[in-house]
């Protein structure tokens, strides 16, 4: 293997300053520069969606040229723009009470937070010792949180005196799952799994996420299609979230 380290063709693909690679470099650079026609810009964006390497080339140009953004002087936009944007983004007129501003919802959320803590407590417990069968609940209650499509299920074990409360996305159209997300260090949310809707609750945190689960992270619950988000990303509305704190 004498020439294993030789700078032969193909080792790193084509050289960036020759042939098709250079053409890609130029097109990506021209795109980021903004000099292309609308139709050509559309072609570049279609190519980015289909070709990860080309997309990375465009992103590199974007990063490289972003220093030129310093030339843009900030100008405060008129106040009415914000209201118009919120109307478009949030759908309903902004002043109308939304899920987030509903007193009933927040009352429900207090319960949901308890459930999240219970689930988190359960996860820590599960990671520390082998799961063992818990005594079957002797009493249960289903509490509807008005206007949210969320039910809270309470299960009581008389033997231990333990009362667990779980949120269930019961009354959305069709069956739905509640998915628990970990948001950490500004990264995109990562799924911790589906909140169990029956049986003795708790979920096992995937091994690769355990280190990230600590103070500073945020837990959030979204409503997803049955079985969880099909894309691995949050697709449904977020119905509860809060920071993770160490228990005293």
């Amino acid at each position: 293997m004498t020439d294993k380290n030789a700078d032969g063709p193909g080792a790193e693909g084509e050289r960036a300053d020759s042939g098709p690679m250079r053409r890609d470099e130029l097109i990506a650079g021209e795109y980021v520069l903004g000099i292309l026609s609308l139709e050509d810009r559309g072609k570049v964006e279609a190519r980015m969606a289909a070709d990860r390497r080309f997309a990375a080339t465009v992103r590199r140009w974007q990063t490289n040229l972003s220093g030129l953004d310093d030339a843009y002087q900030p100008v405060t936009p008129p106040a009415h723009l914000r209201r118009r944007i919120e109307r478009r983004v949030f759908g309903a007129p902004a002043p109308q009470p939304s899920l987030w501003h509903s007193l009933v919802f927040w009352r429900g959320c207090a319960f949901a937070s308890i459930a999240v803590i219970a689930v988190l407590g359960g996860m820590v417990a599960l990671s520390e010792r082998a799961p063992r069968p818990a005594p079957a609940p002797t009493l249960s209650a289903e509490m509807a949180v008005t206007g949210t499509g969320i039910d809270l299920i309470a299960a009581y074990q008389a033997a231990s005196g333990r009362l667990m409360v779980r949120p269930v996305a019961a009354r959305q159209e069709g069956a739905r799952s509640l998915e628990l997300w970990l948001v950490e260090g500004g990264q995109a949310p990562r799924s911790l799994g589906i909140l169990p809707e029956s049986g003795e609750g708790g979920l096992i945190v995937p091994a690769d996420l355990r280190r990230a689960l600590g103070p500073g992270a945020t837990l959030a619950v979204s409503i997803e299609p049955p079985g969880g988000s099909p894309t691995g990303k949050v697709t449904g509305p977020v119905i509860a979230q809060g920071p993770v704190a160490r228990m005293p």
Partner: protein, 179 residues
């Protein structure tokens, strides 16, 4: 607002967090509006564009990947791209992608960077190594959204000369920035 703080807020927008959206708007709308005004040069048009841009931010936040780009750069790229799309829709320019991109090999380009290899260079350092008029053409294209024809008119050179200028400049910049 630190970059990390902004990245976390964008992640929260991905979780459909309205409060995070309001905070990001408060922190960034002046800069993004500045981008719209500079490129579109029309206040009403810039206001329309800014609305579309924040709708896009709301929709795309879930796909924001913090390691890939800085959060401010990510937001500014959405704003610039939208403003330029709008400008090009308003004032169409000739398509170019199907034409030849052949340039003489730039290895011997007299403008090639002469800076010693080392840490990654910033764009302004590398622009400083282009001939002044060519650096100015790059800046005008990026910052103002100028077209090839507008640049050719401004610098009083034929259209094809301007294309060659900018493409050569891009290759030179790439070498300088990456080396």
């Amino acid at each position: 607002m630190t970059q990390d703080g902004l990245a976390l807020l964008i992640a929260r927008i991905g979780l459909r967090d309205r409060e995070a959206f309001a905070l990001v708007y408060r922190q960034t709308s002046a800069k993004l509006f500045g981008i719209c005004l500079r490129i579109l040069k029309d206040r009403a048009d810039a206001e329309e564009a800014l609305q579309d841009i924040y709708v896009k931010i709301w929709e795309r936040a879930v796909s924001f990947v913090p390691g890939e780009t800085s959060p401010a750069g990510w937001l500014q790229a959405i704003a610039r791209n939208h403003a330029i799309d709008r400008l090009r829709a308003r004032k169409p320019v000739a398509d170019a992608i199907d034409e030849a991109y052949d340039l003489a090999d730039s290895t011997d380009d007299p403008e090639a960077c002469a800076v010693a290899a080392g840490e990654r260079r910033r764009i302004d350092v590398c622009l400083g190594e282009l001939a002044a008029a060519r650096a100015e053409a790059v800046r005008r294209a990026y910052v103002e959204g100028a077209s090839y024809q507008e640049l050719a008119d401004h610098f009083a050179v034929p259209l094809n000369t301007m294309r060659t200028w900018l493409r050569r400049s891009l290759l030179t910049l790439r070498k300088c920035l990456e080396r």
